[in-house]
C-alpha cells in the first residue's frame, strides 16, 4: 500500500469510530500532531487507532495504564488533547 493510501486508511479508522469522543480526539490528533511524530511514535499510534473505543478510551482517560512503552508515550500525548 502506498503511503497516501495508508494515511487514508488511518484517517478512516480515526474518524469513523464508535464514539464521538474518539472521532474528535483522534481526528484532531491526526491533523495536528501526527505529521510531526517519529516513525516509531507513528507506528504506535496506528496500533492504538486500531483498538476498539472501549479499549482505547480507558487508556486516554487515565482509568487504565498502557503497558507498552512506545504506546504509552503516544497515549500521554492523546491525553493532553483538549477538544473544547
Amino acid at each position: 500500500m502506498e503511503a497516501s493510501e495508508a494515511l487514508n486508511k488511518l484517517r478512516w479508522r480515526c474518524t469513523r469510530r464508535a464514539m464521538l469522543e474518539t472521532d474528535l480526539l483522534l481526528g484532531k490528533f491526526l491533523d495536528e500532531i501526527f505529521p510531526a511524530l517519529t516513525p516509531q511514535q507513528a507506528a504506535a499510534f496506528v496500533v492504538l487507532a486500531d483498538l476498539e473505543d472501549l479499549e482505547l478510551w480507558p487508556l486516554v482517560n487515565g482509568s487504565q495504564e498502557c503497558d507498552d512503552v512506545s504506546q504509552a508515550e503516544v497515549v500521554a500525548m492523546l491525553r493532553r488533547v483538549r477538544v473544547k
Binding site: 500500500m1 502506498e2 497516501s4 493510501e5 495508508a6 487514508n8 486508511k9 484517517r11 478512516w12 474518524t15 469513523r16 469510530r17 464508535a18 464514539m19 464521538l20 469522543e21 472521532d23 474528535l24 480526539l25 481526528g27 476498539e52 473505543d53 472501549l54 478510551w57 486516554v60 482517560n61 487515565g62 482509568s63 488533547v81 483538549r82 477538544v83 473544547k84
Partner: protein, 594 residues
C-alpha cells in the same frame, strides 16, 4: 464501468449494518441456516451502538414491581401518542424475553446482591401508568452498548455469519415491480463496486444525527440507509422528529448520560436554582427528554443561562459521594475533564440540548417489514434499529427504548425473512438489466466533476442550516427559509468535487457519497417539519404554543398522523397512527404532562 461489468455475489439475505440491530437480525438468519452477508462501514464492534451507556429497558421487575403494560403506557405517552400502539405493545411485551436472551448470549449485566439483573431509574420510566418513577433500565456499568455488541457478535461468529467489513452500501436494487433484490456496494480497500444479489435485504444502518451541527452522534451516522431508500423511491416517515439530548457538553456535543440524573444529578440555572422543580414537579430532573430540553432552552432564553454568554446550564453532581461517581458513573468524570475542562467532583458541568436520536425513518410494521403508505409490504425489504420507524418512538423516544427497539425488531425482522424465504421457498429473482445505472452515473459524475463544491464545506453548510432553521425550538419563518436554503445546499451536493481519484482507501470519495445521503435526510427533515403546524413531542414550534384548546401546542384533530416524505417532487403524504394494540385496550389520547 457499466452495470454489465459489475461482479455479482449471491446470498439468501444481505444485511446492511452490523450494529445492534444488524447483528441481532443476523443471528436469526444464520442460525436458521440461511446464507447471510452482513456489510458494514466499520468492524462490527466499532459500530455506534457501542456509545450507548445508559441501558436497555425491560419490565423485569427485579428491583421493584413493574409490568410491560406500564412500560407500554410510558412509551405511548413518551411518543406523545404518535407511536403505533400495536408495535409498542409488541416491543414492551417482548422486552423481558429479548433481554434475558441477551443474558444467555453472554451479556455481563450489572447484578443486584441476589444476583438478578440490576435496574436503575431513567427519564420517563414510571410505575402504575405514570404514578412514580420505577427502576427499569438494565445496564452493564456504562458499557451497555459495547457489551451488547460483543455478545451479539460472538453469537454471529458461532453461527458463521459472513461479514464484509469496511464495505459501504451505495444503493438498493429494485426491479420494475418494486421488489428489492439486494444492494450495490463499494469495497473501500480496493475501490471495487459489487452487487449483492439477495432474496431479502435488511437495512440496519443506524441514525443520521450528523445532519445537525451540534450532535452527540459519531461521525459515522450519515443516514446512508435513509438516503438509499429515498433514492429508490421509498418514502421516509416522521422525519421531523429528532430528539435532542438535554445534556450534551456545551461546545463539543459529547453526551453526558441521563444515568447521571438517575444517580442524583441536578440541573441548575445561573441563580443556582433547581429549575426542573418548576417544569415537572413530580419527575423533576428525570422528566422526559423533550420536557427537560425545552425547560433548559427556556431558562437560557429568559436570561438564566450560565457562563460568559449565558448560553448553557449546569449539571451538578458535586453533592454526590465521589465514590458513587467513580463506581456508578466512571466515564463521566473524564469526559467532562477532556471536553469541558471541568472536574465534576469539584464543579458542575456546562450542558446544552444536543441532537441525539432520530425517531423517524424507513416505515416498517412490527414484523420489521418495510411498508408502503397503505400498509402493504415492499417485497424483499426489511429494516430495524434507528434507521427504521416501526413506529414505537413516535414524536419522542424514551431513553433506553432504542437498544430495546434494535433487539426486538432486529429479531422480528430476521424472523420475517426466515419465514418468507423458507415458507415460500423463493428463488433469486433475476436482476434487472440496468440495475446499477444510477449508482454508476453517481460515481462517474464524482470522478469527472470539475469546478465543483467542496465536500467538507458543503457538509458544514448543511449542518449549520439544519441547526439554525430546524433545531430544538422551531420558528415558522425560519423553517420556511430553511426549506429554500436546504434546496440550495442540495445543488451544491449535486456538484461536489474530489481531487483524489485513487481507488484504494479513497476516503474523499466515501465522504462525498455519505454527503449524498445526508442531504436526503436533511430535506426530509426540513420539509416535514415546516409542514407540521403543531407542536408534538420533540417537534416544538414557537407558533404552536401551549393553549387551552391545544395543550402543549398539540393539535390532534388535524395532526394526529404520520408524515411521509417522498423524494420525488419533495411531496408529503400522511397516514393514520395505529391506535389498536394487539391485546389490550387503546391508550386514549391525553395531554402529556409529567
Amino acid at each position: 464501468m457499466s452495470t454489465l461489468k459489475i461482479p455479482v455475489r449471491k446470498f439468501d439475505a444481505v444485511i446492511v449494518g452490523a450494529g445492534g440491530a444488524g447483528l441481532r437480525a443476523a443471528i436469526q438468519l444464520s442460525e436458521s441456516g440461511l446464507k447471510t452477508a452482513v456489510l458494514s462501514k466499520v468492524f462490527p464492534t466499532r459500530s455506534h451502538t457501542v456509545a450507548a451507556q445508559g441501558g436497555v429497558s425491560a419490565s423485569l421487575g427485579n428491583s421493584e414491581e413493574d409490568h410491560w403494560h406500564w412500560h407500554m403506557y410510558d412509551t405511548v405517552k413518551g411518543s406523545d401518542w404518535l407511536g403505533d400502539q400495536d408495535a409498542i405493545e409488541y416491543m414492551c411485551r417482548k422486552a423481558p424475553e429479548v433481554v434475558v436472551e441477551l443474558e444467555h448470549f453472554g451479556m455481563p449485566f450489572d447484578r443486584t446482591d441476589e444476583g438478578k439483573i440490576y435496574q436503575r431509574p431513567f427519564g420517563g420510566h414510571m410505575s402504575n401508568f405514570g404514578e412514580k418513577p420505577v427502576r427499569r433500565a438494565c445496564a452493564a456499568a456504562d458499557r451497555t452498548g459495547h457489551a451488547m455488541l460483543h455478545a451479539l457478535y460472538q453469537r454471529n461468529v458461532r453461527a458463521n455469519t459472513q461479514f464484509f467489513v469496511e464495505w459501504m452500501a451505495l444503493d438498493l436494487i429494485r426491479d420494475e415491480t418494486g421488489q428489492v433484490l439486494g444492494v450495490i456496494a463499494l469495497e473501500m480497500e480496493t475501490g471495487e463496486v459489487v452487487a449483492f444479489h439477495a432474496k431479502a435485504t435488511i437495512f440496519a444502518t443506524g441514525g443520521a444525527g450528523r445532519i445537525f451541527y451540534s450532535s452527540t452522534n459519531a461521525f459515522i451516522n450519515t443516514g446512508d440507509g435513509l438516503g438509499m431508500a429515498a433514492r429508490a423511491g421509498i418514502a421516509l416517515e416522521d422525519m421531523e422528529f429528532w430528539q435532542f439530548h438535554p445534556t450534551g457538553v456545551a461546545g463539543a456535543g459529547v453526551l453526558i448520560t441521563e444515568g447521571v440524573r438517575g444517580e442524583g444529578g441536578i440541573l441548575r440555572n445561573s441563580d443556582n436554582e433547581r429549575f426542573m422543580e418548576r417544569y415537572a414537579p413530580n419527575a423533576k430532573d428525570l422528566a422526559s427528554r423533550d420536557i427537560v430540553s425545552r425547560a433548559m432552552v427556556t431558562e437560557i432564553n429568559e436570561g438564566r443561562g450560565c457562563g460568559p454568554n449565558k448560553d448553557y446550564v449546569l449539571l451538578d453532581i458535586t453533592h454526590l459521594d465521589p465514590a458513587t461517581i467513580m463506581k456508578r458513573l466512571p466515564g463521566i468524570r473524564e469526559i467532562s475533564i477532556q471536553f469541558a475542562g471541568i472536574d465534576p467532583i469539584k464543579a458542575p458541568i456546562p450542558v446544552v440540548p444536543t441532537c441525539h436520536y432520530q425517531m423517524g425513518g424507513i416505515p416498517t410494521n412490527y414484523r420489521g417489514e418495510v411498508v408502503n403508505q397503505d400498509g402493504s409490504v415492499v417485497k424483499g425489504f426489511y429494516a430495524a434499529g434507528e434507521v427504521a420507524c416501526a413506529s414505537v418512538h413516535g414524536a419522542n423516544r424514551l431513553g433506553t427504548n432504542s437498544l430495546l427497539d434494535l433487539l426486538v425488531f432486529g429479531k422480528s425482522s430476521g424472523d420475517s425473512v426466515v419465514e418468507a424465504i423458507k415458507q415460500n421457498n423463493v428463488a433469486h429473482k433475476d436482476l434487472p438489466e440496468n440495475f446499477a445505472d444510477l449508482t454508476m452515473a453517481r460515481l462517474n459524475r464524482l470522478e469527472t466533476q470539475t469546478d465543483g463544491s467542496s465536500v467538507n464545506e458543503t457538509r458544514l453548510e448543511l449542518q449549520r442550516t439544519m441547526q439554525k432553521h430546524c433545531g430544538v425550538f422551531r420558528f415558522k419563518d425560519m423553517m420556511v427559509d430553511g426549506v429554500a436554503k436546504i434546496l440550495e445546499v442540495e445543488k451544491l451536493v449535486a456538484k461536489t468535487e474530489i481531487k483524489d481519484k485513487s481507488k484504494v482507501w479513497n476516503t474523499a470519495r466515501v465522504e462525498a457519497l455519505e454527503l449524498d445521503n445526508l442531504i436526503e435526510v436533511a430535506k426530509a427533515t426540513m420539509i416535514s417539519a415546516e409542514a407540521r403546524k403543531e407542536s408534538r413531542g420533540a417537534h416544538v414550534r414557537d407558533d404552536a404554543p401551549d393553549s387551552e384548546a391545544f395543550p402543549n401546542g398539540r393539535n390532534d384533530a388535524e395532526w394526529h398522523k404520520h408524515s411521509l416524505w417522498h423524494r420525488e417532487g419533495n411531496k408529503l403524504s400522511y397516514k393514520p397512527v395505529n391506535m389498536t394494540p394487539l391485546s389490550v385496550e387503546t391508550i386514549a389520547l391525553k395531554t402529556r404532562s409529567y
